[in-house]
């Protein structure tokens, strides 16, 4: 549907607030990052020198950068897969219950309303090696939990903290997807002699594939770019580099290490990744499988 405005000014006026926000908070910083990526700047921002592609050359010869890339991939796929599996399980259960449905669903949606940093702090306290209740239980159960020392444990912690929030979002989509599966298909499968388990894997799950793919992309994008708050509040990228994702490294190198040019170059690489992900998202999701 197209809406035609009688004159040219009003539509631009209506778009102006969003355009301003985009320009000030996205386009301008992006342009700044692009520019800075080609300069070397002193820590106080007093002088800078054009160095061409040297920042990028440094970046791609730095083993720590590749390490961070691997960390990001492990982290992102863990978040996506754990978050989606749990959400699907919860959605299947929510779809089945009849009594107390609304309360159950509302409770499951709540975590989404919690700010990332708060979620991080929450899990940080729960898992604090000296006083966190979960850490103490784990110790009682014989697991020596200390995410300040053990890189794998730190990774587990950030995955849990990031996943927890995302489960709500995934849950909503899976629940909607499940409710869109026609009842008669399940009934036909039941008459065809498929067990409930088999019905799920051969009928329901394939029909959810558009939703699953959409959520995979959304979750990866979330884990890549929107988990800074969680990581900063729980592990600050440590111990060592074990939870330093690409986004956290931009912050760490730029504002802690004060290598503004290198940090800007990393931002430019991230921008390219975002662009690529966006293309993938539109390509595949726009063309998602249509069932009649």
């Amino acid at each position: 549907m197209t809406v035609t405005f009688p004159q040219k000014v009003l539509p631009w006026l209506l778009l102006l607030p969003q355009l301003l926000v985009t320009a000030i908070f996205f386009l301008w910083p992006a342009e700044q990052a692009l520019e800075q990526a080609f300069y070397q700047e002193d820590a106080f921002g007093l002088s800078r020198e054009f160095i061409g592609l040297e920042n990028f050359a440094d970046l791609f010869t730095d083993p720590l950068y590749y390490q961070s890339m691997l960390t990001t991939l492990v982290f992102s796929f863990s978040v996506a897969i754990v978050g989606m599996s749990l959400a699907l399980l919860l959605a299947v259960m929510a779809d089945r219950i009849i009594r107390g449905k609304l309360a159950y669903q509302t409770l499951l949606i709540w975590p989404y309303a919690v700010a990332p940093a708060l979620a991080g702090v929450l899990w940080w306290i729960l898992f604090d090696p000296s006083m966190g209740p979960i850490a103490l239980w784990l110790k009682a159960a014989g697991v020596n939990w200390n995410h300040y020392l053990d890189g794998n444990q730190a990774m587990i912690l950030v995955v849990i903290a990031s996943t927890w929030k995302q489960i709500s979002y995934n849950f909503l989509f899976f629940l909607a997807g499940l409710q869109a599966v026609p009842r008669s298909l399940i009934e036909a499968a039941a008459i065809d002699g498929a067990s409930p388990f088999k019905r799920f894997w051969t009928i329901v799950f394939p029909l959810l594939s558009p939703t699953t793919f959409f959520l995979l992309v959304v979750n990866l994008v979330y884990a890549f770019f929107e988990t800074f708050g969680v990581i900063d509040a729980t592990t600050k990228g440590g111990p060592g580099q074990s939870t330093t994702t690409l986004v956290y490294k931009v912050f760490d190198d730029g504002f802690v290490g004060l290598d503004l040019g290198g940090s800007a170059a990393q931002s430019v690489v991230l921008m390219a990744i975002v662009g690529l992900m966006t293309v993938i998202q539109f390509r595949f999701i726009e063309r998602k499988v249509q069932y009649s």
């Binding site: 039941a190 008459i191 069932y291 009649s292």
Partner: protein
């Protein structure tokens, strides 16, 4: 041999809604039974109870002598064709038909053979590798039937399978379903709200109204001797003319001025009925009453004339007359009609039962 027995089968929903009080029905082997009634009469619920998709609240269901109340749908050896066909959209036609056989652990070679046999019978061989979305409505309908047939079940259940097709295809598929069922000899329970479909398909019809079986019988039984005014109105198109009247010593008193002579022992309020096709055009001397014509529907092969009984007060009962061939009487003119006694249907107005 009796194949399917419903004994005092009733359905009450958890919220207390009494959908079906009690239905008794015994179906012979190979019989084609049609459950027919207006929407909300409980016909689909009854079918789903036989399928095992709804629990049976009271009474008992037996298939080949075995109690089925607590059996899973898969254990009842039935196959169902759904209104929306319920084809698995992500599977090919072949996989749709093979799914039930695979689940029952049939060897692959045997599955392939069965599917190809049924596909040949239904003319689906060319379409086996297609997905449901690449099929037309009629083809989907056929695949749904193929999926039911391939399993060779004891009972076929059809839930309004033709209601999503256009009128022409519906007639064609109706004939096909009947032929296939005859050929396979499988006991069939078929739900529809369309009385023409019901009449043409059924060996016996069950007319349901508010969860009660108003009458069970062959299509001609129901047409000739409807047990209640509901059945009388439901079976036949256009439906029977039904007029509230009184049975007196003189006969059927329709209004102050109009009494149709009849000697009958019953006295009191009745519903008097005659089918539109049984009214005859007559002249003034021999006529039973006159009709003030209000509308004429010319269908070529027949003409439907809608009007009102002509009375002094001008508030006559509406009446439809069906004449064969084309007729073009003037609107608002009078038409003299005769209603032969042999075609009358009389029902007790209180008990709603046939007299």
């Amino acid at each position: 041999m009796t194949d399917v027995i419903l004994e005092k089968v009733g359905k009450t929903y958890p919220n207390g809604y009494h959908a079906i009080p009690s239905v008794d029905l015994s179906i012979e082997e190979g019989e084609f039974i049609v459950l027919v009634g207006p929407s909300g009469c409980g016909k689909s619920t009854l079918l789903r109870m036989v399928a095992g998709l709804e629990s049976i609240s009271t009474g008992e269901l037996r298939i080949r002598g075995e109690r089925m109340n607590d059996k899973e749908p898969a254990e009842r050896d039935i196959a169902m064709v759904f209104q929306n066909y319920a084809l698995y959209p992500h599977m090919t036609v072949y996989d749709n038909m093979a799914y039930g056989l695979k689940n029952r652990g049939m060897p692959k070679a045997q599955i392939a053979e069965k599917v190809s046999d049924v596909a040949t019978m239904l003319g689906l061989t060319e379409l086996l590798q297609r997905k449901p979305r690449q099929l037309s409505g009629g083809q989907r309908q056929r695949v749904a039937m193929g999926r039911a047939m391939v399993r060779d079940p004891k009972v076929f259940l059809f839930d309004e399978p033709l209601s999503n097709l256009d009128a022409k295809l519906r007639v064609q598929m109706r004939v096909e379903i009947r032929q296939l069922q005859r050929k396979l000899g499988t006991t069939t329970l078929y739900v529809t709200h369309d009385q023409v479909e019901a009449m043409t398909l059924a060996d016996r019809l069950v007319v349901l109204n508010k969860g009660k079986a108003e009458q069970i019988g062959t299509p001609m039984d129901l047409y000739n001797k409807p047990a209640t005014p509901f059945v009388a109105a439901f079976i036949g198109s256009p439906s029977m003319n039904l007029i509230n009247a009184n049975l007196t010593e003189q006969g059927v008193k329709i209004s102050e001025a109009l009494t149709l002579p009849l000697s009958h022992a019953f006295r009191g309020g009745i519903v008097w009925g005659i089918r539109p096709e049984h009214l005859e055009v007559s002249d003034e001397q021999n006529a039973d009453f006159a009709l003030r014509i209000q509308a004429v529907e010319s269908l070529g092969a027949e003409t439907l004339i809608h009007g009102k009984l002509e009375t002094e007060s001008g508030h006559g009962e509406p009446l439809v007359v069906r004449l064969s061939g084309p007729h073009l009487p003037d609107i608002n003119s009078l038409m003299w009609l005769r209603a032969p006694v042999s075609h009358w249907h009389l029902f007790d107005a209180n008990t709603q039962q046939r007299l």
